[in-house]
Every structure is written in C-alpha cells, then in structure tokens.
Symmetry: C2
Subunit: 362 residues, 2 copies
C-alpha cells in the first residue's frame, strides 16, 4: 500500500489548508480535471488495489457537489460496498483542548507500527467557518502524517451536518475497500456531530481531561452515556494524581448508568499522549470491546442498525427540508411561532395550520 | 372547588377501569351523550369557574377521536389558553417498582392539605395494553383520591405516544384554566414517554430506589441527564443506610455531568412515601428550583421552548407519518432495507430511491 507519490500528494492535501478549506474545492479537484475523466470502474479497480491516489480522488468525488461527480461517486460506492465492513471503526470525541489530535497521533502511529492500515477521518460541520478546526492542521499530526500506512482526510467542509456525515460515512466504505483495517472518526464533542459519529462507529471513545469539571462545560449532555469508554488524557507531570482520581470517579459514575445494550460495562483509562503512556491500554479497551461484542452478536447488530439509521435519517431530513424550504411555510412560521408564544393558539393548532398550507402549496 | 358529585364522578372514572381502558371511550363519553351537547363557551365558562364536572367532560372531548368532539375541544383549549400557565408543572418518572404512585399519593396529599389544587395526569402510551398501568388503579391512590382539591386523570389510552402526549399537554391547559396550581405528570421511565413528559414540565424528577443497580435496568439511558433532581424513595426500615449511601453516589455522579442549561445543579434527596419522611424535602427541591429558574429567566425560556418544541414535533410526526403510511412506500421499505443490509446499495441511495417513489405517488 506504499505509494511515495500518493504520500506526497496526501500530505499536500493536508498541508494545503488554504485550498482545502474552500467550500467544495480541494487539491484533487483541480488535479483531477487536468487529467482525462476516469470511469467508476477505474476508481473501483484502483481502490481495491489499494491505490491511495485513486482513493483520494474518489473521496473528492464524494465531496463534490457537481451532479456529474456525484453520479460517478455513487457508482464507485455501490461497487465498493461488497468489499467494505472489514475494519474496526473508532469514534473519538472530546472538547477542544482534550487533546484529540495528539491522542490520535500517538495511538495512530503505534497502530501503524503494528502494521495496521489506518484511515483518520473527521466530522466537523463547522470546519468551513473554523478553517478546518480538526485534522486541518497538519502540524498537529506531524508524525502520523509521515506514516505510509496512514490516510488522513480532513472533514469535508460541506455545510450541513447531514451532508458532512453522509460524505464521511461513504468515505469509510471506500477506505475499507482500499484495505484500511482501522478507521478513526474524530469529532468535536460540542454539537450534533458526535451523534452522527456515534452512528457510524463500532466504539465511541470520549476523551476527557481532568479538572474541576470546567472541562466538561463544552461537552453536550448525554455524550457520557453514548461513550463505550472514556480515556482521561494528559495523565502526565503534575496531573497524574488528578487523572488517577478522575478515573475512579468516572468509573463510579459509569457504574450508576443503566448497563448499555451491548452488555459491555464502559470504564475509564488514563493515558498521556505526550509520554505515550496508557495509549495502548486504551486501544486494548477497544479491542476487548470488539471481541466481546462480536461474541455476543452486538457488533453486527449495531452495524445493521446503523445502516438502517442512515437510511431513515436521510429520508427524514429530506422530508423536513422539503417543508421548511417551502417559501410559503418559511414566510408563515415566524407568525405562527409568535401566536404560540403569545398563547393565542396551541402548538398543535399552529402545526396543523402550517401543514394545511404546505399541502396546498407543495 | 368542591363538588361532591364531581368527586363521586371522577372517582367513578378511576374505579371504572373496564370502561376507561377501552380505546377512545370512557365514562364521560356515555355520560355526556345522555345530556344535550354543550357549546365550547359553556365548557370554558364552567372550567374558569372551577367546575370539575365540566373540566372532566372537556378532557373527554380532548381524548375523543370524533372530529365533532375535537372541533369543540380545540375551541375550548383556544379560549382557555390565556388563563393557563400559572402553575408548577412537575414531571415524575421512575421504573415500575420505584413507588411513583405512593410517592405522588404522599406528596399530593400533603400539598392538598397546604391548600394547593393538584391535578395528576399521566403519559403512558402502553396504558391500553397494560390496562392503565399508571394512575389506573384507584386503590394505589386511595387517600389522595378522596381529596377535594385533587383531580386525577389516568393516561389517555390513545395508542401513539404523540397522541397521548398531545392530549396530556392540552389537558394541562384546561386544568390550569380551572385553577389547578400544581400539575403532576407521571410517566414510566422505560420508553419514549419520559421525553414527552420532560418536554411539558418545569421540573423533571427521577424517582430512584436503592440497590445493586438492577433497579436501573429498566430506566432508559439518558434519563439521568434529563432529571432536574433525583428522589431516592423507600428510604425506610432496613433500607435507610443504603438509601443514604445512594444519595451520595448520585450526588457525585450528577456533579460529573456538564452543568445543565438552567444553571441549576441537580442533586438527590432521600424520602419514604410510607413513613412520609423526606417527601417535603423533595418538594422543597422543586420549589427552590422554580424560584432559582424564575430569577435567572430559565423558567420562561424553558416554557417558551417547549411551546415551540410541540409545534415542530407535531409537524415532524405528521410529515413522517404521511411518508410511512403511503402504501407504495410501505410495500417498498422492507426490500430497500434488505438491500441495504445485504450491502447491495448504500443507505443513502436506498433513501433517495424511496423519496423518488414517494414524490411520484403522493
């Protein structure tokens, strides 16, 4: 899977922030257009061969909003699907400052040295505004980015969460077909994005840092119960004792939660991405979970449910967008909301008035 | 607000399980039809006067599926809306066995003796199947049911959660217009119903019992983070020490959660509905919360957001039902799902095929 030129190129992608952060545009796009258009079959053949150049170009098609690109992309995905699925999908979330990038860098490098093929993706709908807040900054993954076995792809900066999530999930398919056996999906634990990430991974890791609880401020409520495990990062220097104490508190807290469907009891490990200590303990937690859930059947059940989830999720957002983007509805909603807030009509009457209008004008 | 005959009648309602559990039918229905039909204005006038007979009959209209009844019901609600809102809305959830009914009985009786006017409602979409699992069994609220200031109404057994929730929320409006200053909404903490309850109350109380954690089994994950406070019930007899210990564990656990929007730090109290100890401590927690959130503005913000929530929630379920109840879609879905599960097409392609069909056949 070693392609010096691809390596260069993918690094080019990550380095070249200016370009990658233009909505809908990135280095491949220009690069690809210089050459003759490829057929879906050529991409598929290349991907199955492990050709990272073609993988990267196919991902660019997925990220493109051009109907012509999307048409090819969907063909490629369809033909890659039968070869996908054979990987461990790890979701990693945590507030900015939890050290997600350094953790991924540390763990990822170790896994590459074990001979694993690692694809690091991201879901960050804000990346357009935040100039690629995650995975955008190569300097944060200096070491990992030089690993030939690593494929790092910043979050598609495609606006809506739904769009970004779809592209990331479709990219997972291509990466797996290309032979990547370990997929990491990084997300910022502040918005809706971690729900999307949680719905496409096998293990959802919450990266925490110790402290008075202020660090939790940014984390959306409910995330702790979504986590299959917690890693308390920055367990180094003067922080070790607090990290150890935090591990115990989290352990006790997690024990108070109702046991998750998986039958797996989430727990917390401490680690230091700087000292590189405990990082493999965290990975062992993931491997133990995978073994455990493959034995009790939850692993397949979760993936099956995720496939359904994305089908229904896509349908629902399409139906709702159709409604809210209807000009008549758009005009009517503020007034209806106001009447509800003024106790002039009930929420239900307001809803039905809007639905009647929609039926008339769609 | 004392009406001996209403009291009799409402008791008749609660006693008469056989009737109340027939879908869409209940004692009032028959009772009402014997008399001449009333106009919306007559119901409203009676409700504002605090006439519990007419309140009960109006609630029956809300619960009725007859378009004619619904038409009157919506008029009544609309005219009562300006007089609603002046109450404390308390949601109470907990697994079966947590002692919700005895707790409500104990707390409710105390509040009535303080001169409060208490309406006890329920959201239990399963009540049709479970024969009114909550509030259906009068014997479980023997004492409270004799209080003239108490109005107890079992969950409407109307099938869908959306329907049940709507009816309960509309019933709150009428109860408040009738002068009830304290509304309790009971729900079983096992399904979706507590999300609905949480979305219509000011304070959401999780009733817990001590133990090895088995008691948590039934509770849906995420509920603990929805709770504004926890009451550890059955803190009596040989259970006192364990309950005290549990209070501390929950306190520590809650402290690990990110602080809720309200700025209020949820905590746990112990109580015994049998010994009647601690019950008023729990109520004090509710009162403190109300004062706190009224001062920082969150109280109104939460109610405003809830009003909007129900408007959008109603719209969304209507849009989705329109899709899923479309015969063409109904026929197509299993096949699409299968193709997704067999990795023949991606979740997104399947979704778009279904949406195209829907556009053609709606």
């Amino acid at each position: 899977m070693q392609h010096p030129e691809n390596d260069k190129q993918y690094k080019g992608l990550v380095v070249n922030e200016g370009v990658q952060n233009l909505p809908q545009v990135n280095p491949y796009a220009t690069f690809r257009r210089q050459k003759r258009e490829l057929h879906a079959e050529e991409y598929v053949e290349g991907i199955l061969r492990g050709d990272i150049t073609l993988l990267g170009q196919a991902v660019t098609l997925i990220e493109s909003s051009l109907p012509k690109d999307q048409a090819i992309a969907q063909k490629v995905i369809e033909q890659c699907l039968p070869y996908s699925g054979n990987s461990v999908r790890l979701g990693i979330t945590g507030v900015p400052g939890a050290g997600k990038s350094t953790f991924i860098e540390a763990l990822g490098t170790m896994l590459c040295h074990q001979g694993k093929h690692l694809a690091v993706l991201a879901i960050d709908p804000s990346s357009e505004r935040s100039k690629g807040s995650i995975l955008g900054d190569k300097t944060r993954m200096n070491e990992l980015s030089t690993e030939a076995n690593a494929f790092i792809r910043p979050s598609p900066s495609a606006g809506s969460l739904g769009g970004v999530a779809r592209k990331t999930r479709e990219t997972i398919v291509l990466c797996e077909a290309a032979g990547f056996d370990t997929i990491m999906v990084e997300t910022v634990g502040v918005g809706q994005s971690e729900t999307a990430a949680h719905s496409m991974v096998d293990f959802f890791l919450l990266l925490q840092v110790t402290g008075t609880g202020d660090e939790l401020q940014g984390i959306k409520r409910g995330i702790m119960e979504m986590a299959d495990g917690i890693a308390i990062n920055k367990c180094d220097g003067s922080n070790v004792e607090r990290a150890q104490a935090a591990r115990v508190s989290f352990k006790n807290a997690l024990a108070l939660f109702p046991p998750p469907e998986s039958g797996w009891q989430p727990y917390a490990e401490t680690c230091s991405s700087i000292d590189k200590t405990g990082v493999l303990k965290v990975w062992k937690m993931v491997e133990d979970y995978i073994r455990f859930t493959k034995e009790n059947g939850y692993f397949d059940y979760r993936r099956t449910r995720q496939a359904k989830y994305w089908m229904y999720e896509t349908i629902h957002s399409a139906l709702l967008n159709g409604f809210y983007q209807n000009p008549v509805i758009e005009k009517m909603i503020p007034e209806m909301e106001q009447q509800v807030l003024d106790n002039k009509i009930s929420s239900f009457v307001a809803a039905h008035k809007l639905l009647e209008e929609y039926a008339r004008h769609k």
